[in-house]
Amino acid sequence: MNQIREEATVCEDTVFKTVYLSYFALLRNFLIFKFGNVQRAEDTAQNAFVILWENCKSVSVEKAKSYLFTTAMRQALNQLKHDKVVVKFETQFQQTEIHLESPEYLVLEQEFQTKLELALESLPEKQRLVFLMNRIENQSYKEIAELLEISVKAVEKRMHQALLVLRKEIGNI
């Protein structure tokens, strides 16, 4: 039962639940990157799932992911762009090499992490979405292009721009 036929629609309860478990967190995180507000992101993500359920007959499992993203973005379309957004992160320091983790090293790392988060706030929405979806949600440029309905080239350009902005901002702090 774990393998669902891709052409199946999402009208069945179990299929719908599987789609929810697979994509809810991703969609909700994407909306947090967009709005910077957890409550609103979760509300919008839930609404997208309601709309998916209502139209379940015309959406195959394969298409569910992009359908959810398109729906959520359309809902937010009429609202203003959010260019100055504060996203609250948790930093997960990876314990790769223990001997490196001297107190000074940790402090320096923490300091840089704070700078990075500050710099992220100044990214314009388009660049921020691409950068964070790639870095935090591990979505490839191709996957991001499909979700945002833009070309891979455009995703690469936004990523490049985002890095230029981050580099400049971090230098200024």
Binding site: A25, E42, F89, E90, L116, I136, V155, L163
Partner: protein, 308 residues
């Protein structure tokens, strides 16, 4: 500048996705920039969001669904709808019977258990371990494992072992999987074994093992032809001491108290399954601890020699 244009306009995004190497990238930017970009790359991979409460969100979503359904429902529900529901419940039950994990086997404390699967593959379960699989196993070789087990898989379609850590996939081989709460380990004894956890996957060849303890990933080699516990012993190669003690607790159904500072001492050695005293002796001697057994509780303490 000409070189930059030649390579790619988006050399930053190319480097970020490893389409160009560090060396290639380094030739495009100053050393100072390179260092900062590298920090951005590693720093951003460590950022995370607090994950959503999936149950709470599902609850809220379900409420929204019933609200919208009420609006659009006809006033007199048709009988056919209930017939439909009953039929689909029957169908789901049938599907569960066939594909759900309805068959299971458990090895109790202190014992191992050998299980012959419908496809003639053999699983040997170590103490306090269990497996579950569906009635359609022969068609769909998927098995759930909680604990430690040694597998000898018959050649055929993909054989998947699901654990809390990820999946292990093989075609026909001999291998061991340990999926305890504090310890994940896969050892390949014959053929090839694919270990998948999230988006990462690696392939093990005979004599190699991967181990995850405390989210630390280690690769090691193994020279013995099958796990020691099959022949009534548990063997360990450079693992933290507490992992050894947990295995001992699982094996004999006892509880062990020990000095906190020994928790992460690295241990290599083995213990027998036949006798608790001998087992305790063989793990206490190397680390210079003494033991005291009271009912099902064992207390390890430092010897006078060790305290100084």
């Amino acid at each position: 500048m000409i070189q930059k244009a030649n390579l790619s306009e988006q050399y930053l995004s190319d480097w970020m996705s490893d389409q160009i190497t560090d060396a290639q990238f380094q030739s495009l930017v100053s050393t100072e920039d390179f260092i900062i970009y590298q920090k951005i790359k590693s720093g951003s991979s460590q950022l995370q969001l607090t994950p959503p409460d999936m149950e709470q969100n599902w609850l809220e979503l379900s409420q929204k669904l019933t609200q919208t359904q009420k609006k659009s429902q006809p006033k007199v529900p048709s009988l056919w709808k209930y017939v439909g529901i009953a039929a689909s419940m029957l169908l789901l039950f049938g599907v569960y019977q066939f594909f759900g994990y309805t068959q299971s086997a458990i090895a109790d404390i202190g014992s191992t258990k050998s299980v012959l699967l419908p496809d003639k593959s053999v699983v040997v379960l170590n103490s306090q371990s269990s497996i579950a699989y569906s009635k359609m196993f022969a068609m769909h070789r998927k098995i759930k494992l909680d604990g430690a087990a040694y597998f000898e898989v018959e050649k055929g379609k993909v054989f998947t072992v699901k654990t809390a850590y990820g999946e292990v996939e093989v075609l026909g081989t001999k291998f061991e999987v340990i999926a305890r709460p504090d310890w994940f380990e896969v050892t390949c004894f014959e053929g090839k074994v694919k270990v998948k956890s999230g988006k990462n996957a690696i392939i093990l060849t005979p004599g190699n093992k991967i181990r995850i303890i405390d989210s630390q990933v280690e690769y090691q080699t193994e020279t013995i032809p099958q796990p020691l516990w099959i022949t009534g012993e548990s063997g360990f190669k450079s693992v933290p001491f507490y992992v050894v003690l947990h295995a001992l607790e699982n094996q004999f159904g006892i509880q062990i108290q020990y000095p906190e500072k020994y928790k992460k001492v690295i241990f290599t050695g083995s213990f027998t399954h036949s006798d608790l005293d001998t087992a305790l002796e063989s793990i206490c001697l190397p680390v210079k601890l003494q033991y005291n057994i009271k009912d099902s509780k064992v207390v390890l303490s430092e010897t006078a020699l060790n305290q100084n």
